[in-house]
């Protein structure tokens, strides 16, 4: 589920990053206002975060299939720590995974925290887990609530991955094919993950019921204000995405124009005003059109490009060798 940088275009990546930063800031604010939260919880959050990291690597066997799965941990954290501390913990874990384990990219961090953290803490926990579980904790209710919440969380997350990849215009895969590939796989994953997460929560409930009760009775989220937040988030996302994509589609043109001016290139003559306006209008309606245009300059200069490319590669290789040789000489001199 971790997305790599190469799957996102800068506008999409940045737009989601802004939304994610907003969600994190909101959570930090909520935690600060929460009177029942003391600094004692910070080490507990941190150690559970480290634990989630390790737990994601425990493979369990899925009976009858011979394959194995692992847990994601978003709902687990939300049920034990409360949704807002869970989001912060999950975000921190994802940042460390990105930096130290190459699981998900730097530009993609915002999208990954959104898909695996924000969706869980802002949608599947408060709208599904909490209403079912808060009617009286019992193993049955916990199981039902967990499976439902994990499945929705993963479905929404997978859907969001599809949307982000499509909006970035990375793949030729038709939208419905991509959806048909992603959603059923994540339904299967969600069901097994849900069963396992439910088993873990039931075990913890039987051993230390006060942990889950504490997280559930936390009044920091009320569904009324939450609805507003979610609606605001959605509107904000759409506005941002639209804004960034308009910026992206006009930005290269502006730069090309500037360069054309400087070098006196023929670039400008091709695009008359009428052509320009119609293009602009088209761009306003199509979502990120500039990225898939097949009129690529590389097409004409294919062979030349390959020669130039090979030379560039050779130059890069020589640079590396030279630096290494110089370094070794330096060491030898010492």
């Amino acid at each position: 589920m971790h997305m790599a940088d190469a799957l996102l275009s800068p506008p999409v990546g940045l737009a989601i990053a802004v939304v994610t930063i907003g969600a994190i800031a909101y959570s930090v604010n909520k935690i600060k206002k929460d009177e029942s939260f003391d600094e004692k919880k910070i080490p507990i959050m941190a150690v559970s975060g480290a634990f989630i990291f390790a737990a994601q690597m425990i493979n369990f066997t899925i009976p009858g299939t011979g394959s194995s799965g692992h847990i994601g941990g978003g709902i687990l954290l939300a049920a034990l720590l409360g949704p807002f501390p869970a989001l912060l913990t999950m975000a921190a874990v994802l940042i460390i995974q990105c930096l130290f384990f190459a699981d998900g990219g730097l530009l993609a961090l915002g999208a990954n925290i959104f898909n695996m953290g924000v969706i869980v803490s802002f949608i599947s926990y408060p709208l599904i887990f909490k209403p079912i579980a808060s009617k009286g904790l019992s193993p049955k209710r916990i199981t039902l609530a967990t499976i439902a919440a994990v499945v929705t969380g993963l479905q929404l997350g997978a859907f969001s991955v599809v949307l982000e990849t499509m909006a970035s215009d990375i793949t030729e895969l038709p939208f419905h094919v991509f959806l048909l590939l992603m959603q059923p796989i994540h339904l299967a994953i969600g069901l097994t993950e849900g069963v396992v997460t439910a088993a873990v929560l039931c075990f913890i409930y039987s051993m230390r019921p006060e942990i889950m009760e504490g997280a559930l009775t936390n009044k920091s989220i009320e569904s009324k204000s939450l609805k507003k937040v979610i609606i605001a988030l959605v509107i904000f996302t759409i506005l941002l995405a639209a804004g960034f994509s308009l910026f992206a589609s006009s930005f290269p043109d502006g730069l090309e124009w500037a360069i054309g001016n400087i070098t006196g290139g023929s670039e400008i003559e091709k695009s008359g005003t009428v052509y320009n306006i119609s293009e602009k209008i088209q761009e306003m309606f199509a979502f990120m059109p500039d990225y898939s245009l097949k009129t690529n300059p590389e097409q004409g200069t294919s062979l030349a490009g390959i020669i130039g490319g090979t030379l560039t590669l050779m130059l890069a290789g020589i640079t590396g060798v030279v630096i290494n040789v110089m370094k070794k000489k330096k060491v030898a001199k010492r």
Binding site: V47, S48, T61, L88, I170, V195, T319
Partner: protein
């Protein structure tokens, strides 16, 4: 199991590389983070049929990895994690986008194939960029910069503490996993019916450990703040480096060097 011990090993070896004392290690972490982010954004901003324009961006990893004395091995294992889904998305292009883009020595090359190569190249470059950042920067230095950037204390505390406790959590998990597999021969992984108590037990232990850690921190005067020795502002030379890096990267993004070379020839 292998995954757990591999993660532990990778974690420690990266930390060791980050202890180095090269020119790249000495750069201010904030400068490095900004330049890395810029590099990633620029690489990803190429459209999906670009290959030649991306090639000059190879200079960054070549120069920085040799200057920073970063070994190649961790890079390969990281690529193995990042590549599969990118190749999946790219391979779909090969199937769905078969229109011929150019003919090379009589062999037709489709748009889809070109975009597969482009995505793979982008994935490789972005992964290397993050590796270079992290292999030359120590975690505490990153946390200090985050505090200076006014990231909420609680979040910075969380990141640096999770980082600290990952090896502890991994070790504890490995121990329990070992104990489990010794008692259940011929089973691959943990049986699904045992997962509840296995993971639950681990979680409860971590909660208890978290409490003990808190008491220990409290004894040493912890009050919810992040205390650190202030670091000096980046010197003028660093600014110069940042500006020239940015300028160079933007030029490389806008001017297709391989095409330029071949047009000169």
């Amino acid at each position: 199991m292998t995954m757990l011990s591999k993660a532990t090993y990778g974690f420690h070896s990266l930390e060791k590389i980050a202890e180095g004392e090269t020119i790249i290690h000495r750069l201010n972490p904030l400068t490095k983070t900004i330049t890395t982010f810029l590099y990633v954004v620029l690489v990803v901003s190429f459209d999906r049929y670009s290959i030649s324009g991306l090639l000059p961006f190879l200079f960054y990893p070549v120069v920085f990895m040799s200057l920073g004395e970063i070994p190649l091995k961790p890079l390969l294992s990281r690529l193995a994690i990042a590549l599969p889904f990118c190749i999946f998305a790219g391979a779909a292009n090969v199937i769905f986008d078969q229109e011929t883009m150019l003919t090379l020595l009589g062999v037709p090359i489709s748009y889809g194939l070109v975009s597969l190569v482009s995505i793979t190249l982008k994935a490789g470059l972005t992964v290397i960029a993050v590796l270079i950042l992290i292999a030359t920067t120590k975690m505490p230095a990153i946390s200090r910069q985050l505090i200076r950037l006014k990231v909420p204390t609680i979040f910075v505390l969380l990141i640096s503490m999770i980082y600290r406790y990952i090896s502890v959590a991994l070790e504890e998990t490995i121990n329990m996993y070992m104990a489990y597999s010794l008692r259940s021969p011929r089973s691959k992984g943990i049986k699904i019916k045992d997962m509840g108590s296995f993971v639950g037990q681990l979680l409860l232990r971590s909660f208890d450990r978290g409490e003990r850690v808190y008491f220990a921190m409290k004894c040493r005067g912890f009050s919810g703040d992040y205390k650190y020795v202030p670091t000096p502002e980046p010197p003028a030379l660093e600014w110069l480096y940042m500006i020239s890096f940015t300028a160079l990267a933007v030029i490389l993004r806008l001017v297709n060097i391989p095409d330029l070379i071949s047009s000169i020839i």
